[in-house]
Amino acid sequence: MAAITIAEVSKIYHGNVEAVKSVSIDIEDGEFIVLVGPSGCGKSTLLRMVAGLETISKGTVTIGSRVINDVDPAERDIAMVFQNYALYPHMTVYDNLAYGLKNRKTPKAEIDARVAEAARMLEIEPYLSRKPRALSGGQRQRVAMGRAIVRKPAAFLFDEPLSNLDAKLRVSMRGEIKRLQKRLGTTSLYVTHDQLEAMTLADRLVVLNGGRIEQIGRPLDVYHRPASTFVASFIGSPAMNLVKGQIEGGNLQIGLYRIELGGRAPVEGPVTVGLRAEDLKLAGVGEDAMLFQVDYVEELGAQRLVHGSIDGQALTIALSPETPLSGDLAVTIAVDRLHFFSPETGKRLERGTSFAGDAPVETHRLETAS
């Protein structure tokens, strides 16, 4: 077990294509870090550089106290779980698990003991003498996990390990990976494009976009305080609503509607306003409300997603299925749950910071609120 330090790491391919741009992450011992982002964001490349399957163009990666830039993959003391399992098709499950240990000259008795322990943990004992082709997808995934566990490495690297499984199995394996990682306490780096997987597994998640880190933080922090419009629209399902707005004299103007911010406006001028679907509520009688024109409804069972628009800007509202729907809706916004982003850079604008007077108190209150 060891901490991993990724310091200003870049990957430059032939033809000057920069897939990873000076990324730095400090991973604590035993921490579960999830790299999440859309395809092509460089998350897998970053993981593969840590594994030693790609060379590191710039920067350093340290595992424990060792800089491993030029260390052979097998000497890095890591184990990797691949998307398509990458089991050795000509070996039995037992040999698949034992292969890495045999190559490290582990005594036979210890190999047996470790394989037996891993097999028990993953409940693959009945299959030890089978070849991988005689196993189902879920069982293969367990064997791939077992191959990582038996080695007792300093770190686990997961490269989208669940994306080949069906939805139900994915959920149960997700839980199992989390439980196993907590139990073993092994530092883990996990790559996924699935934001739900990222949210549920991570101690901290790293949102990547275009080879750069958009945000690092605990799942709920990232959810409640997204650092940019990219993170806001990527993390959370349904995606955060982003609408154009204008702040004038401390009040927010969205289309026809004016919303009083109570002196906690971030800036004056145009802003991008972020609204979680669950932060839009139906207006009570006599409340100031905005007209929400319903476009279509998605029934999710526990929730009902209503898609529509306010003054021409598309929005999604999450409502309880008990709420009766009849034509267009009158909705209100929880003012303290609004997110503001710069329309030019997409970066988050902290509320209150631009108003020097009440900044500290307001910021603090906002944080406790979320």
Binding site: L53, A74, Y88, H90, A134, R147
Partner: protein, 333 residues
Amino acid sequence: MTTATDLLPAARGGTGTRTGGRRFGAFRLFGGQSSGGESAAKRVQFASPFLPYLFLAPQLAIIFIFFYWPSVQAIQSSFYLEDPFGFGSTFVGMTNYTDVLKSGEYLGIARFTAVFTALVTFFALSIGLLLAVKADGVIRGNAAYKTLLIWVYAIAPPVAGLIGMMFFDQHIGPIVELARWFGWDIKVGLNYFDTAFSMVVVSVWKQIPYNFIFFLSGLQGIPVSVREAAAIDCSSGFRRFWTVILPLLAPTAFFLLIINVTYALFDTFGAIDVMVKDKAANNPITLVYKVYMDGFRGNDLGGSSAQSVILMLIVFVLTIFQFRFIERRVHYN
């Protein structure tokens, strides 16, 4: 329990995604225990019982006319003593066989054929594999590299044989030139060892591109992630090759083993002919060439037929042996 799980992969053998697995699926029909599951799983019902035979007829006709019919004739004439000038034949029983098997010359040629086949097969396979492994590792400019290695296979066999021969030409052959530097005066067609040496070299040279193509496609069929998993599990590239790459290449290698043995026994005829034809006697020849010499030069059709029957039996036994004992170690994905 175990039989059920053993049968399952066997039934799926033919549907493997790797080119290797599919190509060699046909061979599995010979391998006793696995054929049952495969045919049962894919059985098709025809309305008329004669229809499937009708579909098979063209193929069967070809096999019958070009293989079974000549074979039967060969077996038949091996029991007769043929008049050299075509004036009838006499039944002589097993005399042709006993004559051949008692002949010291024939046994010597058989021994040389065994050594020749072993050498050609071994070197053609191992050099082909080595080049394929190296070509597989080349990332940039690999198209040019592969083309250079494959072109020999793309030109007509007699032309390739001729080019191969020119390497050993007494006057302009570069290999003869090279050997002279080391004080070795190669005399193809005069010296027994020199002739044997050049026969092996030319035969191997002609077969390498074929093996190279198959090994390369076999290597490229191995999933990248499996190689990467192996790279994380094992630091020694050599050990990785022996424990992961080679076993996954085994179906390809087994197929090529059979093809190469057959090549060395039969298809080297042209190269041998070019080297020893019109040369002094006592040159090394293989069994196939001996069949030709006795039959068409010596006009001893009976003896020649007996030899070809013996050769057929040897190949038959060899093939059975290969499928029985070597294929058992092959893992089909």
